[in-house]
């Protein structure tokens, strides 16, 4: 070293392949990927072999065949086929999810704010509520509420016969309810139109407010617009029968185009997506000085994206059933929608009905006219609501506490009242902090409805399990579960993320 002090330019030599970091990284990744694919193929072949040995095969036919299952409650209590079984379970799951999310949010906010109250008793009660509810497994709570309802609620008695406003019994809690009729779909067009119109009016009023500074009551105007359209739709809904033509037209277009054309279109779309990804990737590397020199890593990424696009396109072109099933599904949905619209249908879109008690033989029963919350529904609903509310309460409390103290002081120094301060300064800021964890709680609630299986509430896991036992098609049921829950999760987190982005504080 000491002898050679000349500054020499190091020879520009690429390292050998086995010492090139990029090559090594990608080799490791591809080896793992290949190993995983091999594992999946081996397991799949094994599964196929196992099925064959048992004389069974993997298929979706059971969805269209009669299921021979009765379901305790839901839209189809005697489903005609496997698909209706799944549909009933899905709707039952969504019923609890939606109503549970609403109830848990209200209760959770109340408990969370109580936890911050200066009133000792309220504060302590809220604390006790949270500490008890969130430290007992939800399953125990659901089963407990189910047994409370079915063991301690009174029997239906014969002297309750006739129409009632409210029936509480060990067969369930019955309340009056609105039921959609066959014209509901036509009316729903007006509901959607009302929402759009209300939004337009709201924006217009806001613009007016910004221009003139006068109070323009955008909220009230929007609400009145919505109500007006919806009420008008109540009487004018047959007009919406025209929408049926649109569906019909679309359906005939979809089925008129040959499958090959769809195949090519989808394949082209796959290639287009890959090309677009590559182009965007290249754009992201482009600086004002021109395209940066691509590293080996970048080349690998581009190659991989291209390969995925080409393979997907090839699969679409060479395996027509893939495309055919998608087209069939779209066609099915369009024709289904088409049936729901007709000029000649009249009558109110919603039917109001009160629960009734009937005595068909010796034993009085709850009739079918009202909305009945069975003990199983009651158990799951109360269970997930109370449980999730405890977690939401903690989130709310944390969010309010996370608003800096200086905000309160600044508000007070300006002379705002406590209530104004809470409404205009603290809660809007706390809400931003609260929203992401609340979204997680909503997801948890949706997933926790699956515990309904423990009290035989026919949600999607329970009916899927029955269907799997009945038909022996367990694999398909598992797939249906996974896809269903992933869709629900995606939709819920999509909604939460949307609001989250909207509410995000603007920073430098």
């Amino acid at each position: 070293m000491a002898t050679d002090t000349r500054i020499s330019r190091p020879p520009e030599r690429k390292p050998p392949l086995w010492r090139n970091v990029t090559v090594l990284k990608w080799a490791a990744q591809l080896v793992v990927l290949a190993g995983l694919i091999a594992l999946v193929v081996i397991l799949g072949l094994q599964a196929a072999g196992n099925l064959q040995a048992q004389g069974r095969s993997f298929g979706w036919g059971f969805l269209s065949r009669p299921a021979g299952i009765q379901i305790g409650e839901g839209i189809f209590t005697r489903p005609a086929n496997g698909f209706q079984v799944i549909q009933t379970g899905a709707v039952n799951m969504l019923r609890i999810t939606v109503s549970g999310i609403l109830a848990a949010s209200v209760l959770g906010v109340i408990v969370g704010v109580s936890r911050l109250s200066a009133n000792w008793l309220l504060n302590r009660l809220a604390t006790v509520y949270i500490e008890i509810l969130r430290n007992i497994p939800l399953l125990v709570q659901i089963v407990f509420w189910f047994f409370v309802a079915s063991l301690t609620f009174p029997n239906v008695s014969a002297d309750q016969e006739g129409t009632q406003w409210l029936v509480i019994s060990n067969k369930g809690v019955s309340i009056p309810w609105f039921f959609p009729t066959e014209t509901f779909w036509q009316w729903s067009v007006f509901v959607i139109a009302g929402l759009i119109a209300a939004r337009l009016v709201y924006r217009a009023r806001i613009r007016r407010l910004e221009e003139t500074g006068a109070d323009t009551y955008p909220g009230r105007y929007a609400f009145l617009t919505f109500s007006g359209v919806v009420v008008a739709g109540w009487f004018l809904h047959p007009v919406a029968g025209a929408v049926g033509w649109v569906w019909q037209l679309l359906a005939s277009i979809v089925s008129a185009v040959p499958t090959l054309a769809w195949q090519l279109a989808l394949a082209a779309a796959a290639v287009y997506l890959a090309v677009r990804w590559i182009r965007r990737f290249l754009d992201s590397l482009r600086s004002p000085a021109g395209l940066a020199k691509l590293t080996d890593d970048d080349w690998f990424r581009i190659g991989l994206a291209g390969a995925v696009g080409v393979v997907a396109a090839a699969a679409l072109v060479f395996i027509p059933t893939l495309t055919a099933s998608v087209v069939d599904l779209v066609d099915f949905v369009l024709r289904f929608l088409d049936q729901k619209f007709d000029f000649l249908r009249t009558g109110s879109p919603l039917r109001f009905a009160r629960p009734d008690v009937v005595v068909p033989g010796r034993f009085p029963q709850i009739g079918t006219s009202g909305m009945t919350m069975t003990p199983a529904f009651f158990g799951v609903w109360i269970g997930v609501t109370l449980y999730t509310a405890a977690f939401i309460a903690e989130v709310v409390r944390g969010g309010v506490l996370a608003v800096p103290k200086g905000q309160t002081e600044a508000g007070l120094a300006l002379g705002l009242r406590r209530s104004q301060l809470l409404r205009m300064i603290i809660l809007p800021q706390a809400f931003r902090i609260i929203l992401p964890p609340i979204g997680n709680q909503y997801l948890n609630l949706a997933k926790n409805t699956s515990l309904g299986i423990a009290v035989a509430y026919p949600e999607i896991v329970a009916v899927g399990q029955t269907l799997a036992n009945q038909t022996g098609q367990a694999m398909q049921t598992f797939l249906i579960w996974i896809v269903f829950y992933l869709i629900v999760s995606l939709v819920l987190s999509g909604i939460v993320n949307r609001y989250n982005r909207r509410l995000a504080l603007v920073e430098r």
């Binding site: 094994q46 009133n119 000792w120 926790n448 367990a474 996974i482």
Partner: protein, 581 residues
């Protein structure tokens, strides 16, 4: 007023005014009747609370309740189907855990001390509850006067304690450990004086004595060994003892020594010796030769799956491949080489032991599901936590990696598993996985379900660890790189330890969730604690109609565990100061 004005000298501080000493009336006014609205809320809540409490206490203490079912089924709740003839094995497992608990207490020396005042406050709350129960209990509850009287006595005692804590400096701080020991002694004394159930006195006494011995040994060790290595050793003993308890002590394995010695031993000895040689050579080699050797080790590990080697040999070769890959990074110094060799030796021997014991049939005279009750619950919780840890950390590293395929695979796994409910994962594990395996492979349902919970927990753990990894400042990575560390060294020595420490509270929170989630395995037919309460006990002919009592008991047991867990995690969070740094 005239200025300039100068005050002659500074005034000394004064004590706060007397009015801030809260009297009962002031307290009430501040906390219950601060404003009109607050007063209304207090009154309404107070009345509602009175009726709710009276209803609840009346329900719990009613003559119709079948509470005697619970003590009668205590053993069922603890172990359910475990053969009663072998119950000594359960006690032995408990003694091992108590011993380790006593040892750990001494080694970690929790400096918990309780002031007499707070102890008195706790006693007073207990007394208040008892008095309330005595007042609100239904007429039919015979011992309501006794209960109320005991409550009054406790309240009286608490006031004595308060006075003492005011006057004597000596009684100010009571060590928590001493308190626990005292309570245990009291419990034993009651057991021996009142013969409630004669058979349990002896094992309980042994348990307490064992815990005390463990504590004594721990203190001796703590006086001689540095705390760092000692804690590492005790942690390792905990980790090792759990599989031993569940695979060896409780299963009573019947090992077929002929097979083990005849066809396994040559493999074990060969691979262990070969591994020692390989690690030594690799650690002394140039970078490129080490690479070639490592590649050979990996090839050998993969090749073992294609020839008919025993499962044990395949596992050992895989372990060897991993260690040999790590050797150039961590084993290049003399100390590092020694540690690598020791790790390999210990890991290989423990893995061999687990395989020998796990492969052996059980010597218990029973049906297949020999785990049950709270024992099974504990096993599932502890087992899935231990097993999910390495998987979760790997997934977290994969998700934060710069390599797109690893990132994609990890993200996909994590998001899919977190998107579906645990119960579907359990169904798939219990009834789905077997469809993909050769028909002659048989798995214990407990193992399948444990696998399901592990796969589920790993995804959540990975997200927690990822949070920790992302919370590490970029400067840490840059500093590590600037010191010339490789990516593996940086991860293992710098970032991962910090990330794990940062997420300890989150992980404890996940342990709580995991513990609660074990109740779900009741749905797929395992006889764990909740299933005992839900199905097994209420369906006994002499326990019919006791479902609500059993559910309440189960809820209480879960609550005690999780509540204390979460209190501990809050204390830990405060002590680590996570989030404040």
């Amino acid at each position: 007023m005239t200025i300039p004005r100068v005050s002659a000298e500074l005034r000394p501080p004064e004590p706060p005014p007397e009015a801030s000493q809260l009297g009962a009336v002031v307290w009430l006014r501040q906390n219950l009747f601060g404003s009109v609205a607050s007063g209304v809320v207090s009154v309404v809540l107070g009345v509602a609370l009175f009726f709710m409490l009276r209803g609840a206490i009346g329900f719990l203490l009613s003559e119709d309740r079948l509470w005697e079912v619970i003590p009668r089924n205590a053993t069922n709740y603890a172990i359910e189907g475990y053969p009663r003839a072998d119950i000594a094995r359960i006690w032995l497992s408990l003694d091992v855990i108590l011993f380790l608990a006593g040892l750990s207490m001494a080694v970690w020396r929790p400096s918990g001390r309780m002031s007499l005042a707070s102890l008195a406050a706790a006693v007073r709350s207990l007394g208040t509850v008892l008095v309330l129960v005595g007042i609100l209990a239904p007429e039919t509850f015979g011992s309501r006067f006794t209960v109320g009287l005991v409550g009054l006595v406790l309240i009286g005692l608490s006031f004595v304690g308060m006075r003492l804590s005011d006057t004597t400096a000596l009684a100010d701080r009571i060590p928590t450990l001493g308190l626990i020991a005292g309570l245990a002694a009291l419990f034993l004394a009651i057991l021996w004086v009142l013969p409630i159930e004669s058979s349990t006195q002896i094992p309980y006494t042994i348990g307490v004595v064992v815990a005390l011995i463990g504590h004594g040994i721990g203190r001796l060790a703590a006086a001689r060994v540095a705390p760092g290595p000692l804690r590492a050793i005790v942690t390792a003993v905990w980790l090792v003892s759990l599989p031993i308890i569940y695979l060896h002590i409780q299963r009573n394995p019947v090992v077929d020594w002929d097979t083990v010695i005849g066809s396994w031993m040559p493999w074990i000895i060969g691979i262990v010796v070969g591994g020692l040689a390989l690690i030594t050579v690799v650690s002394r080699s140039e970078r490129e030769r080490a690479g070639v050797l490592n590649a050979l080790a990996v090839v050998a590990a993969i090749a073992a799956w294609t020839i008919s080697a025993p499962m044990l040999a395949r596992a050992l070769l895989a372990l060897l491949a991993v260690l040999s890959l790590a050797t150039p990074t961590f084993g290049s110094s003399a100390l590092g080489r020694r540690n690598m060799l020791l790790t390999w030796l210990a890991g290989a021997l423990f893995a061999s032991y687990i395989f020998v014991v796990g492969d052996a049939g059980t010597g218990l005279q029973t049906r297949n599901e020999y785990y049950g009750g709270l024992n099974l619950t504990m096993m599932l919780a502890a087992g899935s936590l231990l097993l999910s840890f390495p998987l979760g950390v790997l997934l977290a590293l994969g998700r934060t990696s710069t390599m797109p395929i690893f990132r994609l695979l990890s993200t996909g796994y994590i998001e899919v598993v977190r998107g579906v409910p645990l119960i579907t994962v359990l169904f798939i594990a219990r009834f789905g996985i077997l469809n993909f395996l050769p028909v002659n492979l048989e798995f214990d349902p407990n193992v399948l379900v444990l696998g399901g919970i592990t796969a589920f927990a790993a995804a959540y753990l990975a997200e927690n660890v990822r949070g920790g990894l992302q919370s590490i400042p970029k400067g840490q990575y840059e500093a590590a790189k600037a010191l010339g560390m490789t990516t593996a060294q940086m991860t293992m020595l710098i970032t991962l330890p910090q990330a794990l420490r940062a997420v300890i509270p989150a992980i404890v929170g996940q342990v709580i969730a995991l513990f609660k989630d074990t109740s779900l395995v009741a749905i797929v037919g395992l006889a764990e604690f909740f299933r005992v309460a839900r199905d097994i006990v209420p369906n006994q002919t002499n326990s019919l109609g006791s479902i609500i009592e059993n559910l309440l008991f189960a809820a209480a047991v879960y609550w005690i565990f999780t509540y204390n867990f979460s209190r501990a995690s809050q204390r830990l969070e405060r002590r680590l100061g996570v989030g404040t740094r």
